[in-house]
């Protein structure tokens, strides 16, 4: 257990450092973007003096490090700030250009509370789809390494990686939703609206799982203890589950950890196209509207997620394969 504790402390410290670097970089980059948020909030009719006063009240004229430390202090209190633009109801603040409107805006925490579960639902379903596609194909290809099914899997994988996700999203929305009217999409009015976006993300993710599963199963099959298992009289089932699959799981898990970042990118663009009310749509809108607090909140959360998932992946890997140490 002492091992585990030092491992966790070291990785969490490193993770904290990463999160700090990321949040500071995003914070700084955002403040170099042309376009004054105070002007955006107040609208073109407001006088320069009012804009200036609001900017000062919001702390937008302080030096960037001062603003950052102030923001960080608030984050530690669980306060990620208030959206410049989004109203409490979730939509845009109605006509929301009046001077005193700041009070009616949604906090970033509220916005995330609404959108994070939606994105988690989408990501979970996408993972289920991705495994449904890649587990059977990857295992079969790996067990028949070099055979016709392996070659078929190679072509299928190449075809899947070659499909631009946003284009697939458009085509599916056109054919499945608009023409055939099988599965609804565009917006969200129930669980069925998750299916098509999740499918697009799954198609994007599955080739990597397929390939790493196939290659690690193929190489596990070559190992001595698998080759000798027949001699020991172990059942095929036992050899497959305990010897092959278990050894192949670790590399696949590691690929998964690395892929998280890429998956977030896919979620973002797919949510944008399907108008699915998750973190991705929130982020794209926030960037296009210069909604700094929202962007910072999202960047912070996703950096934390990245760190935590990678620690978890390492922990689970050692659970599966005790030879790995921290």
């Amino acid at each position: 257990m002492a091992f585990l504790a030092t491992f966790l402390i070291r990785r969490l410290a490193q993770g904290l450092l990463i999160v700090l670097i990321v949040s500071f970089a995003i914070f700084t980059a955002l403040r170099l973007v042309p376009g004054d948020p105070a002007r955006l909030i107040l609208g073109p009719m407001a006088s320069d003096a009012v804009v200036e006063q609001t900017a000062r009240e919001m702390g937008l004229r302080d030096p960037i490090p001062v603003q950052y430390v102030h923001w960080l202090g608030q984050v530690l209190h669980g306060n990620l700030g208030t959206s410049f633009i989004k109203a409490k109801s979730g939509g845009e603040a109605a006509g929301g250009r009046d001077v005193s409107a700041l009070g009616d805006k949604a906090t970033v925490v509220e916005l995330l509370e609404q959108s994070v579960p939606m994105t988690l639902q989408l990501a979970a379903l996408a993972l289920v789809f991705a495994f449904m596609i890649s587990l059977p194909i990857g295992i079969l290809a790996g067990m028949n390494s070099g055979g016709w099914f392996d070659r078929f899997a190679v072509y299928l994988g190449s075809a899947f990686v070659s499909i631009p996700n946003f284009w697939l999203a458009i085509v599916l929305a056109l054919v499945v939703t608009a023409e055939l009217q099988w599965i609804p999409s565009i917006g969200y009015e129930g669980f069925a609206y998750t299916i098509l976006p999740a499918f697009v993300i799954a198609i994007e993710m599955s080739p990597i799982f397929m390939r790493s599963l196939a290659s690690s199963i193929a190489s596990a099959k070559q190992r001595n203890f698998v080759q000798l298992a027949d001699v020991r009289g172990l059942s095929k089932r036992r050899v497959f589950l305990r010897h092959i699959l278990r050894n192949a799981a670790v590399p696949v898990l590691n690929v998964f950890g690395v892929q998280i970042g890429a998956m977030l990118g896919g979620v973002l663009i797919v949510e944008y196209i399907f108008n699915y009310p998750g973190v991705g749509l929130l982020t794209v809108q926030a960037v296009l509207e210069r909604d700094f607090p929202v962007i910072q909140g999202v960047a912070l959360i996703s950096a934390c997620l990245f760190v935590v998932i990678n620690i978890l992946v390492d922990l689970i890997s050692t659970k599966i394969d005790p030879r790995l140490d921290f």
Partner: protein
């Protein structure tokens, strides 16, 4: 991040044949049918992109009000003069896709070169020196990996007006950490080998050891796999164009053609889908070529050939 799938380079076990690993990889690559198929697709498409725009009298940007919404040639009402049909402004979609392909290739190939060079430098330094240099460089790399690239891309491209150059740099920024990690891990292993230790004892300068000894041994296997990243960057470039922060119209890119066609999807579905199918075919060519190179490389490095 396909470069993360790279397995640590093992030293070639036997040198039975006096052939360099590079040559053996090429030979193992060429024996695969996937490679020939991919290469064929690429030669046809890239060849068309280089030649056709000079042959035709059509213009990718000039509008023809009388020729709007012509369907592709294989549909009723299609016309041989416009193979993939025309868009909402009467411009030829085949020609626009080809110009889009030219732009996409130029941007993604330069982006991959830049990210490879940057990643290689960072990885070599971190792996060779270790210690504090390693820690600092790798924490920066981790931080870069932890930022959702698309957030960074949108932020940067709203600061700088998107141009081919700035789009290239954003793509390069998204990809270098993968290379830095892989190069570092193979450099770490290489540093322990006798010839490096010997060179150190003989007093060779660190720069000389890194550039003339380690780099030629560890970089080529990684460079082979970079082909796959060209395809990833082309998709990414198209995504940026699609959300309106890629190279700006009227210059055609896959992203902005598909985005423009989206509003006419119900009545003129080919405007969005045809260039997408074109992009898909190109990517398929690159991925077939890239993955057969990758498989050949793994075989050679694992000593199976």
């Amino acid at each position: 991040m396909s470069s993360d799938t790279v397995i640590e380079t093992a030293p070639p076990r036997t040198r039975a044949r006096m052939e360099t690993p590079g040559r053996r990889i090429w030979r193992a690559t060429y024996q695969q049918f996937e490679f020939k198929l991919g290469l064929f697709l690429l030669v046809v498409l890239v060849g068309a992109a280089l030649i056709y725009p000079h042959m035709t009298k059509l213009s990718p940007t000039r509008m023809h009000i009388m020729q709007r919404f012509w369907p592709p040639v294989f549909l009723p009402g299609g016309h041989w003069s416009h193979l993939l049909g025309t868009d909402q402004l009467g411009r030829d979609l085949f020609l626009r896709s080809l110009i889009g392909l030219q732009n996409a290739l130029m941007i993604s190939v330069s982006a991959v070169i830049i990210m490879f060079v940057v990643g290689a430098i960072v990885g070599l330094l971190a792996g060779f020196y270790g210690g504090i240099i390693d820690t600092v460089l790798m924490r920066i790399t981790d931080a870069q990996l932890a930022v959702p690239v698309i957030i960074l891309a949108i932020t940067i491209l709203t600061v700088h007006r998107p141009s081919p150059e700035s789009v290239t740099l954003v793509l390069a920024l998204s990809g270098w950490p993968g290379y830095a990690r892989v190069v570092r891990s193979v450099t770490l292993a290489e540093r322990q080998r006798e010839y490096v230790r010997g060179a150190k004892i003989l007093g060779a300068s660190p720069i000389r050891i890194m550039l003339q000894m380690i780099a030629p041994n560890v970089l080529p296997p990684i460079a082979f796999v970079a082909v796959l990243d060209i395809a990833r960057m082309m998709i990414f470039e198209a995504i940026l164009g699609f959300i309106g922060i890629g190279v700006q119209p009227p210059t055609p890119t896959f992203g902005n053609i598909i985005a423009d066609g989206r509003q006419y999807l119900i009545n003129a579905w080919w405007i969005s889908t045809m260039p997408g199918a074109f992009l898909f075919t190109t990517l398929l060519g690159i991925n077939l070529v890239g993955s057969s190179i990758e498989r050949a490389r793994n075989k050679v490095l694992e000593g199976r050939i």
